[in-house]
Symmetry: C2
Subunit: 290 residues, 2 copies
Amino acid sequence: MAEPEQLDEWKMRARNWFETLCTQVHDTFETIEKSATSSIIKCPAGRFLHKDWKRKGGGGGVMSTMSGRVFEKVGAHISTVHGNLSPEMCKKIPGTEEDPSFWASGISIISHMWNPHIPTIHMNTRMLVTNKYWFGGGADLTPMLKTRRCQEDPDNIDFHAAMQATCEAHAVADYAVYKKWCDDYFFLPHRGEPRGIGGIFYDNLNSGNWEKDFAFTQELGRTFLSIYSSLIERNMEYKWNEEEKNEQLIQRGRYVEFNLLYDRGTLFGLKTGGNIDSIFSSMPPNVKWP
Amino acid sequence: MAEPEQLDEWKMRARNWFETLCTQVHDTFETIEKSATSSIIKCPAGRFLHKDWKRKGGGGGVMSTMSGRVFEKVGAHISTVHGNLSPEMCKKIPGTEEDPSFWASGISIISHMWNPHIPTIHMNTRMLVTNKYWFGGGADLTPMLKTRRCQEDPDNIDFHAAMQATCEAHAVADYAVYKKWCDDYFFLPHRGEPRGIGGIFYDNLNSGNWEKDFAFTQELGRTFLSIYSSLIERNMEYKWNEEEKNEQLIQRGRYVEFNLLYDRGTLFGLKTGGNIDSIFSSMPPNVKWP
């Protein structure tokens, strides 16, 4: 374990980064909204609404959501929480054998787009501190149309390439392991189908060099913002028809099924009295089970 | 335990009843569709579509769904299945200590209506046979508008009164216990709110007199059909506005949350390789999480 002063500095830097990245995400997505003058949805450019929340046991966060003309609904939130974990949670979280106290800071983003040609994305990164400390997170892409939910689609090739390049630029990250982790995690056993086309997922990252682990986590955030902005811009002026919109709304049902049946973060939040608004802000705005 | 011949007769009669009731439900709901000439949704009267399915381990069922101009989506299904329960399931199901074989027959109905003034209903009854035998089931009502989701609404008073009268006409049924069971079961802990306004719920009903238990189960089916038809007819020509429709779509999200997070039947089905189409046929056709 690091010296307390050292750890405090790291916690501050991690938190500052998640907040900085979140502001960059807000700015970038609002700029996209403004640029979409010929968009099919006729309404003013969206702006993020920000809502502070406090956690009973300690800490809190800012929930930021936007409904616009490109983004049907997007959430980009930060939170920094601390306190004591329940005995049940201590069994699952490393470094809590002798002391249940924890600190966690992170960013999480999920987007649901008007245009069914633009994929849905999920990204989150976080730093955890108990008697140990580590980073975790990931980014994965869900194209909403079956014709585009394949590994051969240029968007998906570029997304994977961006994730791979990010991992390969950082010796602490193992792309093959992180890619498989993502595929294994974002899978719906009851349907025997993956949620999307994958990405990367990592957890318990502590290489022994905090600076390097942090640098990778930061770069994943930058990569996410850059590649997703480019995928939006490529697809946002595509015309779509009612059939495609319908397909998107049905595909969103899989997202709901995954989140409520399997997602560890969602179930953890719901079962430990988390902030309902914040947890459910990732749910799609419109969904169909025909 | 009963003599095998006796039990076979009971199983046949129970199955026949569930099938008969299901046909009555189809006929009644189709008649309502036909009668709705001045309905706000301009489309032809709906008809049930029927789809047979087989269960791998033995048995199967008929899944019947309708999308019409009064019913946005309704499922009214029967199934009769048999085989061996997994060791894990045997721990939960009575009478399987020495023999994992089981037989089950039942009916299940969930409705999602166009008109937000018409409540959603859920009804199911079933007979189970292992080394024991019993009936279970229930019916509960979910008004979709907040102003009508209260115990004082005349619809809800009448619904409860119908359930109470049904129980009170049958000495084997304990209304107070069944009502509380329903309230306890259809509750969303993460929101601290009930799913609807309640109804009745019962399980493991074996009073020692199969005829009496069966008679109660049959009457619950008849009561459901009669009271729900009357609630539909009272409300189906109510005009509604966009705000009310929106409220309904949001309230349906609670239904999804309950089914995927807590409903024993849904989770049991999904985790034991049940028929996905049939399990998800109860999901609302359109839902919002704004």
